[in-house]
Symmetry: C2
C-alpha cells in the first residue's frame, strides 16, 4: 500500500518510525528490497521546509535532516535533535571570529550535510534533487519530499523585546526568523502573527501532488499545526490535493490533555487565534466534506482536509464532518506509534 | 623602519617569524603598541594567492592562512600546516557523502575560517578586507596583503597520468589546479607548463604598490620562485613597483646545495626551464640595473628585481648586477631567521 504523510521535523520523524514499524520494516533501516512487481508498500513524506534557514552561508533544512537522521538511526535520540556522536569544533571557532549565531548550535557532522546541500543548491539543483542525493547515503526507507523547491521561510512578528514599557511609547513590531523566535527566544515572545514568507508564490515540489493523489491513505503527522503542517498547507495546490484525493485523510492531535507533547504548539496556535485543544485543532484542519470548516492561518475558511482525527484518550472533541477517534497518542517507541497508525487505518476502514 | 616582504605560505610565514624576531618582537605575538608618533617599525607582507582553491563551496587561501596561523602561534608546527589541536569530523562526514576531495585535508577549525571568509566574499567584501577582518582575531603583527583581490589560480599542464603508453597514441595534456598537482600528485607529474590563470588581468590589492614604494627595504622571502614569488610578480604593476622603489630589494635562494629545503621548487623551476641552482634562480629574478636579466615564467626578459641575493654557504653564484652574499639559510628558528634578515640589511647597507 501507498502511505503519504504530511509532516514536520523531530515529532514527524518519530511518527514516520512508527509508519515503518507498522509496515513491518526496520524503523531505522532502508525499505525492504522490492519484489519482482515492485515494492509491496511505499511511504512518502511531504516535509515542511519553512523552518529552513541560511546561516554562515549554509542552507540548513532542520525538518528534512531530522527525518534523514532519525529514519536511518543516525540521530541523537537523547538530545532530541542532530547527529549521534556529534562534535562542535567549527562552532567554537566561529565564535572565535565573533561570527557564531550562538542560539543556533551547528555540529560538525551536521555542517558537512549543509556544505554538501549548499554546494548542490548553488550549482542549481533543486532542493528535492538535493534531498534525494543526501538520502542516497542515509537510505531512510521513506521517500522524503520537501513541500516545495521554492524558498519559504516562516517569520514571526513580535513586540520588540528591548522596548522599555516605562518610556510611554508603543513597542515596535519586529519580524524574527522562525528559528530565532523558536530557539533564541524559546517561543517566549507573544507572536502577533506567524507567516510563511514566500509560501503564496511557491509551488509543490515534484512528486508532492502525485504522492497525495495516488496514496491509499494520507496521514497528517501530529506535528505543529501552524509552523509544520500549516506551512505545508500554505503552499498553493497542496490543500486542494488533500481535499480531492481518492484516499482518506486522517489527522492526529499534537496535544495531549490540551498541552503539546514537545515544542511550543500552544504559542503558535494562540498566534493564529486557535485554542490549544484537540477540538480546536481538529476544527482548524476541518472536514473534507464541503461547508464543514477548515481555515488557513489568517482564519479564512478555505476548505478542510480531514476524514478522521485521532485525539488522546484524555481529550474529547466534536468536529463537524470528521470522525473522531480516541487513542493513545504518546509516541514512546516505534511499536506504540505503529499502533497509532493502525488506528488511523481502522478509522477510515482502510485494510493493508 | 618599514619592511616589505614578498612571500608565499609555510616557508614565507616562517621567514616572517624571523623578520619579527629581527625587530625584537614576539615572533608569534602582535606588533608592539605604537609610540606617540606611530609605530617605530612596520612589516607588510605581499602574499601569494594563486594557490587559492574553492572546495565544498569554501574559498580556501592556504598561504594567507599559513601566515595568519603561524604568526599568531596557532599553527601546527609539527605537521607543518593547518591549526594546532585540529579535528577532522567534517572531512569524515563529507567522505560519507562521497563529497570529499580526499587529497586535500580540511580540518574543522580551518573550515570555520573558510566559512567566515566565504560568507564575507559572497557578501561582496574584497579578499583584502576579509583578510584584515580575519587578522583582527589573530593579530599576526604583520600587515598581510593578498597580492590581488582578483581571482588568480595557478594551473599546471601535465600529460594525462592515465594514458597507456602501449596504445600508440600521444598522451592528452590535462590542466590541474595547482593544489591537485602539488598535493594529490605530490608534484610528481612532469609539468609542461605552470600558469597563474587570471594574473595577467589582475590588479594589485589595495596597499600593495604603496607598501613596496614606501618601504625602507624589500625582502623576497625564500619561497618558491615559480608558484609563490613568481605568481606575485605576474600581477601587472608589482614587478614594476619592485624595479622602481627607492628601497633596495634583497632576495634569498630557496635552495640549499641545489635542493629545495621543503616543497618541490625543483619541479616548478624545471617546468619553466630554470636550473635548480642558486645562480639560476638569482639570474631568473635578475638585477634591477637595466639590461641585466630578470625573466617571467615564459622566459621573456622583463627586467630584474634584485639588488642583492643571499645564497647558502655551500652554494656559489654569479649574477650580473646583483651583489651575492653567502649566509646560513636554514630557518631552524626565528632567531636563526632573524640573522638572515640582518644579513639582508647589511648586504644593501640599510641600518635600522
Amino acid at each position: 500500500m501507498k502511505i503519504c504523510v504530511v509532516t514536520g521535523g523531530v515529532g514527524g520523524a518519530r511518527f514516520l518510525l512508527g509508519v515503518k514499524a507498522f509496515l513491518g520494516w526496520d524503523p531505522t533501516g532502508p525499505a525492504p528490497d522490492p519484489g519482482p512487481d515492485g515494492p509491496a508498500d511505499t511511504v512518502t513524506a511531504v516535509v515542511n521546509t519553512a523552518d529552513d534557514i541560511r546561516l554562515h552561508g549554509l542552507q540548513i533544512c532542520p525538518d528534512l535532516d531530522s527525518c534523514l537522521y532519525t529514519l536511518s538511526g543516525a540521530a541523537d535520540t537523547e538530545r532530541g535533535w542532530g547527529r549521534q556522536g556529534e562534535t562542535w569544533t567549527v562552532s567554537g571557532e566561529l565564535a572565535g571570529y565573533g561570527a557564531e549565531a550562538p542560539w543556533f548550535s551547528l555540529g560538525d557532522k551536521d555542517i558537512a550535510t549543509h556544505l554538501v546541500r549548499t554546494r548542490m543548491l548553488d550549482a542549481g539543483y533543486p532542493l528535492s534533487a538535493v534531498t534525494a542525493a543526501l538520502a542516497g547515503r542515509w537510505r531512510p526507507g521513506v521517500t522524503l519530499l520537501p513541500m516545495s523547491d521554492d524558498r519559504v521561510e516562516t517569520h514571526v512578528v513580535v513586540e520588540d523585546p528591548d522596548h522599555d514599557p516605562a518610556d510611554g511609547t508603543e513597542p515596535a513590531l519586529i519580524a524574527l526568523h522562525f528559528q530565532e523566535w523558536w530557539i533564541r527566544h524559546r517561543a517566549g515572545l507573544s507572536p502577533r502573527s506567524i507567516t510563511p514568507i514566500g509560501a503564496d508564490t511557491a509551488t509543490p515540489a515534484p512528486g508532492v501532488l502525485d504522492a497525495i493523489a495516488e496514496a491509499d491513505i494520507v496521514l497528517i503527522a501530529p506535528s505543529n499545526p501552524v509552523v509544520s503542517v500549516g506551512t505545508v498547507l500554505a503552499v498553493p495546490g497542496i490543500r486542494e490535493a488533500l481535499r480531492t484525493t481518492a484516499a482518506p485523510v486522517v489527522g492526529m492531535s499534537p496535544l495531549i490533555g490540551g498541552r503539546p507533547v514537545r515544542g511550543h504548539a500552544d504559542a503558535c496556535l494562540a498566534a493564529i487565534g486557535v485554542d490549544s485543544t484537540a477540538e480546536a485543532v481538529g476544527r482548524h484542519y476541518g472536514a473534507r466534506s464541503s461547508g464543514q470548516g477548515g481555515r488557513d492561518a489568517a482564519g479564512d475558511e478555505v476548505g478542510g482536509i480531514l476524514d478522521a482525527f485521532l485525539i488522546a484518550e484524555e481529550d474529547s472533541a466534536e468536529i463537524p464532518g470528521v470522525q473522531v477517534v480516541r487513542a493513545p497518542l504518546l509516541m514512546t517507541d516505534p511499536n506504540a506509534t505503529a499502533a497509532m497508525v493502525a488506528r488511523c487505518l481502522d478509522a477510515v476502514d482502510v485494510r493493508r
